[in-house]
């Protein structure tokens, strides 16, 4: 384990940003989001959860995929560049780090989504272990250790000191570039980190959702859950907005749309939500007629459909953003609880 030798995080940030674009949690208009670091930005490493998760950096809410020039009978396709500057994202929590695995299973599966792939290739993920989990957190339910995130590099902050450990080759290489700012941590220090981690885990065990049970969500019981009468009760108040979807680190449904700029067509993709009534609507009909079905789809996908295709990996990382943000206080934790009762 390494430690950062200065107590000024800005020293580290300016060193990183001298090499690569650096994204950190910054406060913008009163809310914390991942933004490009600069001296003038208000960095909020203390914030537990950014409103939008870190997926925005790899799968942005909107991105142009290609362009078309139309002239007479002809169409010319403008394909975007195949290169991208490397970037660093600092301060990713364990839940978000896990979400990249969930997204990778979708976007990096054949045929590979090159837009996502390029961003993943370019991005170095530096995680920050949690120190102050809150009542909406339940990452432990999905086997995630908030104090031992995935990612290229993991950091812990204990008593104002930043500890650092590279976890991947990419992380090692990048750590090497920052060697002048890093030193080996002492055994006592490592013990302090471990002690803090234990304390945090103890807190997590006390949180209201710590004991949610998800073992019952297995593929063989898919139709049983699908036909559960509980859905009728759970969906009732759902507004059909996309808040849960858009703050979710693992939701990855998207729409592809064309925009006529007046000088050509831009084809872009943007986040979409299976909660939206338009999502599956076709000229000829609508397979998911009511909000109940749309509501069910989202949770069935996260708890059953996705795991069935991905060796039991749930498409929920327990970050609790939906718990905090749902306008009507309905969320996946309540769904797990209600369905689990059966």
């Amino acid at each position: 384990m390494l430690k950062f030798t200065s107590d000024q995080m800005s020293t580290l940030f300016s060193a990183i940003s001298a090499m690569k674009t650096l994204y950190v949690p910054v406060e913008k208009g009163g809310e914390v989001t991942f933004g490009v670091w600069s001296e003038t930005e208000k960095v909020r490493l203390d914030a537990l959860k950014t409103v939008k998760s870190a997926k925005d950096l790899f799968f942005p809410q909107a991105e142009t995929m290609m362009g078309f020039k139309m002239e007479g009978k002809n169409i010319e396709i403008q394909v975007p560049e195949e290169k991208m500057d490397e970037f660093v994202v600092f301060g990713v929590r364990a839940c978000d780090a896990k979400s990249f695995e969930v997204l990778d299973n979708v976007f990096l599966a054949e045929p590979v989504d090159t837009y996502y792939a390029l961003r993943r290739k370019s991005g170095i993920v530096i995680c920050a272990a949690c120190t102050r989990p809150e009542e909406s957190c339940f990452c432990n339910v999905f086997g995630i250790d908030a104090t031992a995130p995935a990612g290229d590099i993991v950091t812990w902050t204990v008593d104002g000191t930043l500890y650092w450990e590279a976890k991947t080759e990419k992380g090692e290489a990048f750590t090497a570039q920052l060697s002048e700012y890093l030193a080996e941590a002492t055994a006592e220090e490592e013990a302090a980190v471990a002690a803090q981690n234990e304390a945090v885990k103890a807190i997590i065990a006390k949180l209201p959702y710590a004991n949610l049970k998800v073992d019952g969500f297995t593929g063989d019981r898919m139709m049983e859950y699908f036909n559960s009468p509980k859905w009728a009760e759970l969906y009732q108040a759902c507004l059909g907005c996309g808040t849960c979807t858009f703050v979710c680190p693992t939701c990855q449904c998207y729409d592809i749309r064309d925009y006529d700029t007046g000088h050509g067509i831009q084809r872009y993709r943007c986040w979409d939500s299976c909660m939206y009534s338009e999502f599956t609507k076709m000229a000829g009909g609508q397979p998911r007629l009511t909000q109940l079905e749309r509501f069910r789809q989202r949770f069935m996908h996260k708890l059953l459909y996705y795991p069935m295709n991905n060796n039991g990996l749930f498409s929920c990382v327990g970050c609790g953003r939906c718990v905090n943000k749902c306008p009507i206080s309905m969320n996946i934790a309540k769904v797990i609880k209600a369905l689990g009762d059966e």
Partner: protein, 320 residues
Amino acid sequence: MQGIIEKVTELLDNGTVDRVLAWKAGEFSYDRTPAVFDKESGLYGLVYDSFCVNNLSKYLIEESKKDGKVLVLMKPCDSYGLNMLIKEHRVDREKIYVLGVPCKCKVSVDKIKATGLTGILDIVEEGNDIKVTTVYGDTTLDRKDVLCDKCMVCKDKVVVVYDEKIESDETAGIEKLDRMAEVEALEAMTPDERFNFWRSQLSKCIRCNACRNVCPICSCTKCVFDNDNTGISSKANVDSFEENMFHIVRAYHVAGRCTDCGECSRVCPQNIPLHLLNRKFIKEMNELYGTYQAGTDAEAKDPLTAFTKEDAEPSVIYNR
């Protein structure tokens, strides 16, 4: 609360109503979800307390399409929205039994959290004290300090449409703030300051549509932004223009109809002060066309469907 339960039970038992639209307690001591109860389900979980903040009026659009009569618990400020829905023929009044319930202002969990509290395990309300238990320790807050913003400028505490109402002499004991103060503060800025303010706010928008979907006025069968034939449909803010556009158009579409219930700002995951857009219209219309409160009744013409020959010219804006 007890009075409400008794009344609801009575009306359900004597067959006056078939269902009850109210709030249901959640997992924490502060999360409340709108829910429909009936005889079969019983009233288990029905709650009415300082955290029952949702405006239930919009649910009546769907609820009043169903067979039978639905009882709704109606807070004073939400009843304006119901009047608008009645005015615009969006609900079937015959199928609704409105039980007015008193409100002594709602408590905002976000504000409790904004005091730095996290890991909340329990919140207990005792008089003016809000006692919060967290995994990191216990604290007592003054209720006045954690009231919802919208309650600080509440229109009044009178249910404007009801079949029956439950009275209470409890008051929040707060001094109401000037509803237009925030708007005025913005007006006092230079255009560039205002521009920067709104850019910093609207650029946060993630287009989740929560503001639209929660709004009792935004009840179009199909929203212009979802309709590919309008030429302005969009799903994400691909350009800063679209961030502005969505909110300008939304505010404009509800102008003269918005009851200022404040739900849009409450549900915004990015805490964009959307009410300031609506309130600007309200302020402007009040000043230029005479005081008007949407939803006070279900008949009056709103300012944008009325006129007088002596109305101010649009130049009042650029002559300011």
